[in-house]
């Protein structure tokens, strides 16, 4: 229908040739040859680029500088973002937060470990890394830490918000290389994932394909007993660890039968009894066994013969997030518009009618624009990711990009609601706190 769509469609058709083998397209064949490289590289099923062969367990490994928590404006603090580790949960040595999980590396390198960090904003964050002397860290290779071949300890404060969740929901994760191998958001490795196409000639070369790892991990809650998964044509079962029901699985390379399609995120928005079977399968599990009192049940895409009966909704129910408690949530919103080169900045101020104590709830601002063509629709939303006291004066700035000839009315509101996932903004049980409008001249 337009240049974008025709170009996009053309690219997709070339990809069809490459994927499914139309005989007339040589460039597509080239793509196909890349496509035959590890199946899940580009679909975020934990490809960890840490070569094991070079780090045999018996080899002495030097220790480099610890990983630094990310900086910049997006860095979380005690009361913003995902928060920071609560005191006592970031011990350097094995502790309650560093789980008693040690998973051998498929190629014989340092074993893999898992730590759960409770943050000051009430979230559970999961960290995955290699274990060396009861310390969790990452290895300096495959583009990380300038390939210094050293072990770099991963402090609890180096959190990745994408592996944080509300504590009372099930969270399943599949990790992609840089997020887990290098907990330094924004750091650019010197090689890209095996099989990934080079976007431009100056892009870094691919990392060795044999370095690829795939991990699946999660926290299934206090009722979880074990998880099962298929590998090398047989079913493996591992017990979950601790009160969070944690598990960690490391594969040498993505199995071809693994599903695709990115994060389903049933994890953070659906209580246990609604955990879709497809989501369990998507996170490489075949069965999860829960225990409620003296009874056990199993759920998942592949019922284990001889195992407990299938779970039912009532038996596997877990508490859902509690709704905002305040009743009168009205507040007057003050708007001051400032002209900018690309449009306007709307300075919004309101008095918080209810407190936000943690990342389970959040205020947010959003607007829609109504006007004459071509500005008949559009809008934006912005979460306010910080703890807020009741009665506190809250200030948030929203940008309005004004295209030439675009005039109309901005209608907006301040919301308070529960967050389906950290930093997602109000998602459920939204309440309108106040409204604002602006005549876009």
């Amino acid at each position: 229908m337009s240049d974008f769509h025709s170009d996009h469609k053309h690219q997709l058709l070339r990809a069809v040739d490459a994927l499914f083998g139309a005989p007339h397209s040589n460039p597509a064949r080239q793509i196909r040859s890349r496509r035959r490289l590890p199946v899940l590289v580009a679909i975020m099923i934990g490809a960890l680029l840490l070569a094991a062969a070079a780090f045999a367990a018996s080899r002495i490994i030097g220790v480099g500088s610890p990983v630094r928590p990310s900086g910049g404006p997006e860095r979380s603090s005690l009361s913003t973002g995902v928060g920071i580790p609560v005191q006592g949960s970031h011990s350097r040595h094995r502790s309650a937060s560093l789980l008693p999980i040690s998973v051998p590396d498929p190629a014989g390198g340092l074993p893999w470990g898992m730590r759960i960090v409770t943050t000051t904003r009430g979230l559970l964050c999961v960290q995955i890394g290699r274990l060396l002397d009861d310390r969790l860290g990452v290895l300096g290779q495959d583009g990380q830490f300038k390939n210094d071949r050293l072990f770099h300890e991963l402090p609890a404060g180096a959190l990745d918000q994408s592996t944080c969740s509300q504590p009372d929901v099930v969270a399943l994760y599949r990790e992609f290389g840089p997020a887990a191998a290098s907990p330094l958001p924004g750091e650019i490795p010197s090689c890209s994932y095996p099989g990934s196409p080079r976007a431009e000639p100056s892009a870094p070369p691919s990392c060795p394909a044999q370095d690829e790892r795939m991990i699946a991990f999660g926290v299934l809650g206090p009722h979880a007993v074990s998880v099962s998964y298929k590998a090398t044509n047989r079913v493996h079962t591992v017990e979950t660890s601790g009160s969070h029901g944690a598990y960690l699985i490391v594969f040498p390379r993505p199995p071809a039968q693994a599903p695709v399609n990115g994060d389903f995120m049933a994890a953070s928005i659906v209580p246990t009894e609604q955990l879709p079977v497809a989501a369990i399968q998507g996170y490489l599990l075949s069965t999860i066994v829960f225990r409620f009192g003296d009874r056990r049940c199993q759920t998942g895409p592949e019922h284990q013969p001889g195992g407990p009966p299938a779970c039912t909704a009532s038996r596997t129910a877990t508490p859902v997030l509690s709704p905002p408690a305040a009743s009168n949530l009205h507040s007057r919103v003050t708007l001051v518009a400032r002209k900018r080169a690309e449009g306007y900045a709307l300075d919004l101020t309101f008095i918080a009618p209810a407190a936000v104590h943690n990342a389970n709830t959040a205020y947010g601002a959003e607007y829609t624009m109504r006007g004459s063509y071509p500005c008949e629709a559009g809008g934006a939303g912005q979460p306010i990711e910080r703890d807020i006291k009741r009665g506190q004066r809250v200030h948030v700035v929203m940008s309005v990009n004004q295209k030439p000839g675009c005039h109309g009315m901005i209608y907006g509101r301040i919301l308070l609601g529960r967050q389906g996932a950290p930093l997602a903004g109000p998602t459920y049980d939204e309440r309108t706190v106040g409204r604002f409008s602006f005549d876009l001249p």
């Binding site: 240049d3 690219q11 997709l12 990809a15 990115g262 995120m265 399968q281 559009g378 295209k403």
Partner: protein, 184 residues
Amino acid sequence: MAALTDGELLDRTRAGDREAFGVLYERRHELVLAFLLKRTRDPEVAMDLMAETFAASLVALADRPPAIDGSAAPWLLTIARNALIDSYRHGKVESAARQRLALEPLAISDSDVERVLQVAAETDLLVRLAVELPTDQFEALRARILDERGYEEIARQLECSAAVVRKRVSRAISTLRQARQGST
């Protein structure tokens, strides 16, 4: 080819018929775009997500072909929703599928944006989905997935218990899942 069902088009696509996927794209991209625009309210982000959605659908088709008899809309919307949630989670629109297929970044012009807004205005997302799903599943799915409302609120509106809403949503998701993956 226009008379073929979505499922038949996907079968032909897997057999190497590029035009079949072209027909599917023309048939479904407005629906996907309307869904994403409704959720993002940003035409450029919606277009970016739509591009990732169709790329991811090809990846899925290659690696785990869905068993789709009729409409592929539920399957595509599930993929679109996942892409959307990924973008919320990571603070950016993911491009993993496009990277895997070696698709190049596309420029979005003002005229593209104008057309997107026009398409969204002309596409009644709910009406189109209503013909894809059984009534009760559609109602629950609309509220829970398209509108992202809580079970209790939906239950009040539908005058049933939250448990019933959960069950309906579960069945709707199951329908989507079956369409997407063939079996559960």
